[in-house]
């Protein structure tokens, strides 16, 4: 590998242990992972320079930029060598070509500083790269140090490790690693005359993830053209047709045979039903039938858009980034946020991001490290990584992360789910967009490298134990500040005094330029000069440039006459603009590299040529062996114990260790935060004011009930929608103005039963959306969330050969709030009023009635008579009451006089859900009483104990401070101690 010499190395250390926060963090983490022998970790930040710099210039840079004189000192070296140390030393460097945002910023800042200071006449520094050094004291042998490096300090996917410990002494790099340069050579792929086996082999070898039937369709197409495809053509088609991009499973025709819908799973009625297009015939159909005039853009753009006020709409999109997060949790989750935010920026002519959401599904963080399959990271490491990734990207972009949830199940071990959402505000006049023939094809933002190639196809297959190695190139590190700059520039170009400077915009996500330009050109045509795409380093092949998923890029179509103004706006924000081609009306996508044509794709074939399949789906009841959950029988004697255990369990406890790391206040719009009340209890949904000068708000909440999927995916879907609506109504949202988004994450859908569960969930979505009059406005699916273990591992660990996630549907809801000053929070207020539980009976669910209850509760909240409102789920009323006491920092003494035989079950958890309301005694409660059985919980918030008294039996009598401690600390043990402080 060719290299450039490292001329200087600056090593910066804290002057005392107490200022080495990274060292302390590493020590905690290592000890948590069982490396108890480690006694201390000291870190050093390393900057390596290439350029003709004098020692004086380096000294200026240290003094003015790289070293904080209050707490740091630096050594400057021109010979690269290990330091003298008794401790074991590990240095962590990036792999060649991996994004190093600090190095990019440092390079610019250092050259600027030397120039401005007169210390240099030009830009003397050519390259900077960074690394971290860990000095680890107490280690007893080399293999332990190597294990530490692998499991805590570095991820081989994006980083490389150098060790000096015991008898190992690696040579440190003395040169900058320069990625290899590939000479131009046009490659065609021989398809003509190949049989099915050969076609399948080509698909497999090229990691195209195309089925034999799809390969045949491509073969036919090129036969008609009388030639073979070039590699770039074949790869473009594979990206466009990938599950990730085209959702071929959810959009396929389906023959369903099995239990009827709607009735509970005890039904023996079998039906047959055909869907021409599953998605269109269920979820999209409900939206079409509901035909709400406040839905401004549904299913057509990068995000759905609903009305906000006279001038603005609200865009909402939720994405998953599961496969990348399994392999590199930090980078995977961060780029997931980055991609979803770009969907908002690329919605219409650009929406401004105003809030993010995060929902994680992972395995239990106390998973036994010895029972980890090869190729799988420990759940605790995954969870910490994805939290950090979501935190850093959102915080740095200045987008508040306001709402989320966390779910644990061992089946998420190898396939963690990372759902990231983003909400934006967009002027109504900018919702429509259309590129015009003659517009320039313009790429803006970050430069293109070899990162993320094949991400869309990678995301579409199942994971195996060797994926971390094979698909390392699909993993990327994000650079949030680059994206913030793109946002600043894009919105200024949108609002330019001469009018919007572009006719369309979309983000570069999965598939990179191939899918962004391919989509924009769909009804037109385009010619692209690939050599004009700005590169991070030279020597990329034409197909690498076209398919790279390098982050923080967007594609615009710009009328020629506006190019100068656009360049000017972007230059002011320091964002690179490249004119890479032209849209035309040719119906073809021509790809050129310098003077050569490297691809010429028929856009109609590319977008509509994917063979339509008919899938067979069956569902005849819950799988055998799945017994209905049989919880411990609740008695007055054990109820306190059960409730306290639930409150502290990782699936129910406070998410505080997560959301405290998110800036949920930035932009100043927060009205209902993740905590509510003086006691910092949980909120049901987030509320923000998108405009600081208005009291109009939006509420954001979600529902996810994957634990209800086994009995029946149909009802799982219904309950998820109901939960999302309930959470939104709790804070004061208007149920007639709620829009929802679906995110399906399934294991494999190859077999008929798995397909059957998908059909039932889709039908549940349709039926509930209609009953509740709640339209879907956007959605996304991620299938093949399963992992194949090596046969040895399966035997060694006594695990199944394939671990599939439980089918998981996230429903994210966005509600409208006319006046946020009427919002309600869940904390009990210190007032002598009436507490009542409104129960939704899921033994005999009546969705029409449920819809009316939601409406009646919302009306009561709007009347101003509700002081507190909280949702209760399957953990029961008592847990929810405890949370209300925690938020209000007040006890309550409840004397249950008039109770039914179900009362205990309602209190401590069964299948039912509902609302707990603290209402004024003067309130008109009749409309709710008429609709449902409600449970009166007369009681005065007072004192500091939660006490439940049933017929003189004390069910429960615990200090609120005890409840609080259990609930607040449930996650701390697993996430490494303190929340903050």
């Amino acid at each position: 590998m060719a290299g450039r010499k490292i001329n200087w190395r600056v090593c910066v250390r804290a002057t005392g242990d107490e200022y080495d926060a990274k060292g302390r963090e590493a020590l905690t983490e290592l000890q948590h992972l069982g490396f108890d022998e480690v006694t201390s970790v000291r870190t050093t930040r390393i900057y390596e320079f290439c350029g003709s710099l004098s020692r004086e210039q380096i000294a200026v840079l240290c003094d003015r930029l790289f070293v904080d004189p209050a707490i740091e000192s630096a050594s400057v070296e021109d010979v690269i060598d290990w330091p003298e140390s008794n401790a074991a030393i590990v240095e962590v460097h990036f792999q060649p070509g991996v994004m190093d945002p600090v190095a990019l910023s440092a390079l610019q800042a250092a050259n600027d500083l030397l120039l401005a200071d007169g210390a240099a006449a030009d830009r003397p520094i050519e390259l900077i790269q960074t690394a971290w050094r860990y000095e680890i004291a107490g280690a007893t042998k080399l293999s332990r140090i190597e294990a530490m490096a692998q499991s805590a300090l570095a991820n081989a996917c994006v980083e490389r490790v150098f060790v000096k410990a015991f008898d190992r002494c690696d040579a440190l790099p003395t040169d900058f690693a320069i990625p290899p340069v590939v000479e131009f050579e046009l490659v065609t792929v021989e398809l003509a005359g190949k049989d099915d086996d050969a076609l399948t082999a080509i698909s497999k070898q090229g990691r195209l993830f195309l089925s034999t039937q799809e390969m045949q369709a491509i073969q036919q197409h090129y036969k008609k053209l009388g030639r073979n495809p070039t590699d770039i053509e074949l790869e473009t088609i594979a990206q466009t047709w990938s599950e990730h991009c085209v959702h071929k499973t959810l959009k396929s025709a389906v023959e369903y045979k099995g239990r009827a819908f709607g009735a509970e799973s005890t039904s023996d009625d079998e039906i047959e039903r055909r869907y021409d297009n599953l998605l269109v015939d269920t979820i999209a159909r409900a939206t079409r039938e509901l035909n709400r005039d406040w839905c401004l853009s549904v299913f057509v753009d990068n995000a759905g858009v609903v009305a906000f006020d006279e001038d603005n709409g609200i865009a909402f999109k939720v994405e998953t980034h599961n496969h990348p997060s399994a392999i590199e949790p930090y980078g995977g989750a961060a780029t997931g946020v980055g991609g979803c935010v770009r969907d908002i920026l690329g919605c219409g002519l650009g929406a401004k991001p105003i809030a993010n959401t995060d929902v994680f599904c992972v395995a239990q963080p106390d998973w036994d490290s010895n029972r980890l399959p090869n190729g799988v990271l420990h759940p605790r490491r995954i969870l910490r990584g994805i939290i950090s990734g979501v935190r850093d990207y959102g915080n740095r972009m200045g987008i508040p992360t306001v709402a989320g949830s966390l779910h644990f199940d061992e089946r998420y071990l190898a396939n963690p789910l990372v759902f990231v959402g983003s909400v934006g505000i967009i002027p109504r006049k900018h919702i429509a967009k259309a590129p015009q023939a003659g517009d320039r094809v313009v790429v803006v933002g970050g430069r293109t490298g070899r990162d993320g190639i094949g991400g869309a196809t990678f995301s579409s297959g199942e994971l195996t134990d060797s994926h971390a190695d094979e698909f390392a190139h699909a993993v990327q590190i994000g650079n949030a500040i680059e994206e913030k700059k793109v946002q600043d520039a894009l919105l200024r170009a949108r609002d330019h005094e001469s009018g919007c400077l572009y006719s369309a915009v979309t983000d570069c996500g999965a598939g990179g330029l191939s899918s962004a330009v391919g989509e924009m050109a769909e009804h037109l045509g385009a010619t692209v000069q690939l050599e004009n795409v700005p590169l991070k380093y030279s020597g990329l092949r034409y197909n690498e440039i076209w398919l790279s998923e390098a982050q923080e890029r967007m594609v615009l179509s710009v009328p020629l006459a506006k190019m100068d103004a656009l360049r000017d706006v972007f230059a002011r924000e320091g964002v690179e603009v490249a004119d890479i081609g032209e849209f035309n009306d040719s119906g073809t996508l021509e790809l050129r590299f310098n003077d050569e044509q490297v691809g010429r794709l028929d856009l109609d074939f590319m977008h509509n040529g994917v063979p339509k399949t008919t899938r067979v789906a069956r569902w005849h009841g819950p799988p055998e062996g799945v017994a209905p959950a049989n919880p411990t029988k609740i008695t007055p004697q054990n109820s306190e114990e059960i409730m306290l255990a639930k409150l502290a369990s990782i699936n129910s406890c406070s998410r505080e260790p997560i959301f405290r790391q998110y800036d949920f206040e930035v932009q100043g719009g927060s009205v209902i935060k993740p905590t509510v009340g003086v006691g910092e209890g949980p909120s049901d949904a987030a509320v923000i004011t998108p405009r600081l000068d208005s009291n109009r708000g939006v509420a954001i909440g979600m529902g996810l009930c994957s634990d209800r999927v086994e009995p029946d995916p149909y009802w799982m879907a219904v309950r998820s929608i109901d939960e999302a609506i309930r959470n939104l109504v709790c804070v004061g949202a208007d149920p007639s103005r709620i829009a929802i988004l679906d995110n399906f994450c399934w294991g494999g859908c190859a077999d008929e039963t798995a397909m059957g569960s998908l059909v039932r969930a889709c039908q549940g979505c349709h039926d509930a959306a209609l009953a509740y009059k709640t339209p879907f406005i956007s959605g996304k699916d991620s299938l093949n969330n399963q992992f194949s273990l090596s046969p040895e591992d399966a035997e060694r660990l006594n695990l199944p050969k394939t671990i599939a996630i439980p089918p998981t549907l996230l429903v994210s809801g966005i509600g409208h709030i006319e006046d946020v000053r009427k919002c309600v929070t869940s904390d009990l207020k210190r007032a002598d009023e009436y507490i009542v539980a409104v129960v939704f009976d899921w033994e005999s669910p009546d969705l029409e009635k449920f819809a009316k209850i939601h409406m009646a509760v919302a009306d009561l909240i709007r009347s101003g008579d509700v002081l507190a409102c909280h949702d209760f789920g399957e953990d029961g009323i008592a847990c929810a009451l405890a949370e209300m006491c925690i938020g209000g920092k007040v006890g309550v003494n409840i004397d249950l006089q008039d109770i039914s035989k179900n009362t205990l079950a309602h209190l401590f958890g069964n299948r039912h859900t509902g609302y707990i309301l603290q209402v004024r005694t003067t309130a008109d409660f009749d409309p709710i009483h008429e609709l449902t059985s409600s449970l009166d919980l007369w009681g005065n918030p007072e004192g500091n104990r939660l006490k439940l008294d049933m017929h003189g039996d004390i069910l429960f009598d615990v200090e609120v401070a005890t409840l609080e401690r259990l609930w607040r600390n449930g996650l701390n043990r697993d996430l490494g101690g303190r929340v903050d402080g």
Binding site: K485, Q667, G668, V671
Partner: protein, 249 residues
């Protein structure tokens, strides 16, 4: 005098600029955004303003350390312009990342030349977003009402105030300290700051840097317990901007 003119300096990664404009305007100022590159190119532009604000965010990604690159870009000429502004009665406010910038640019030096101060990584080593109670300390600070307690949010990973070994900070330079509050749940001091310091001023009291975000509490519904409280006329954050508007010039 008409409304004081406020410049809010933004750069790559600054992200609290718009709400800071809103807060100043609500307090009776005439605020606008100015890009850092413009004042670096023409430092005299500072002379057009009465108040300069360095807002929150992650300027240049907080790469190297929080505020370090922004501070390095200020340069001698711009620092001179800032001092001119203070000399003619103007004010300078650094919020969160802006505080980090002021400290690292040397505009808030705390004592003799051997003592340097800084804001470094929280003792928890994590980003923390929470509301804190603050006690005002400096009777001559142009931004604060002496003796008032403020309740404001912090949101930072590098807010721990430190001074170099053996150094000290005069008590007259401490503007706000983290303090005990009613119904406190979290720690008093969210980041491990020396002497619970949350804000400091220069020797004139006309330059203040603070870690908490006053621009995030200028409306009733921004308060974390607003659903339990009557509406107040001057939310603690707005009070800081109002006092500054009163004291400028």
């Amino acid at each position: 005098m008409g409304k004081p003119r406020v410049a809010i300096l933004r750069s790559a990664g600054i992200n609290c600029d718009e709400e800071t404009v809103f807060a100043w305007n609500l307090a009776g100022a005439d605020a606008s955004l100015v890009h850092l590159d413009e004042v670096v190119a023409t430092p005299n532009r500072v002379d057009e303003y009465d108040i300069l604000t360095f807002p929150g965010g992650f300027s240049f990604g907080d790469d190297i350390s929080a505020g370090a690159i922004f501070a390095s870009r200020l340069g001698r000429q711009l620092s001179d312009a800032v001092r001119r502004l203070v000399d003619r009665g103007g004010l300078v406010l650094g919020i969160c990342n802006g505080f980090q910038v002021l400290v690292k640019a040397g505009l808030l030096n705390v004592g003799d030349t051997d003592t340097s101060c800084s804001l470094t990584i929280n003792t928890s080593a994590r980003f923390t977003c929470r509301w804190v109670t603050l006690e005002s300390n400096a009777p001559h600070c142009a931004f604060l009402d002496a003796g008032r307690k403020y309740f404001l949010p912090v949101a930072h990973a590098e807010g721990r105030f430190v001074v170099s070994d053996g150094g000290e900070i005069g008590s007259d330079r401490i503007a706000l300290k983290y303090a005990e509050g009613v119904d406190r749940i979290g720690p008093i001091n969210p980041n491990g700051s020396l002497n619970d310091i949350a804000a400091i001023t220069d020797s004139t009291g006309r330059i203040m840097g603070l870690m908490p975000h006053p621009e995030r509490y200028v409306r009733h519904t921004q308060h974390p317990f607003w659903t339990t409280l009557p509406e107040v006329a001057d939310p603690d954050g707005l009070a800081i901007f109002r006092t500054a508007v009163k004291n400028v010039g």
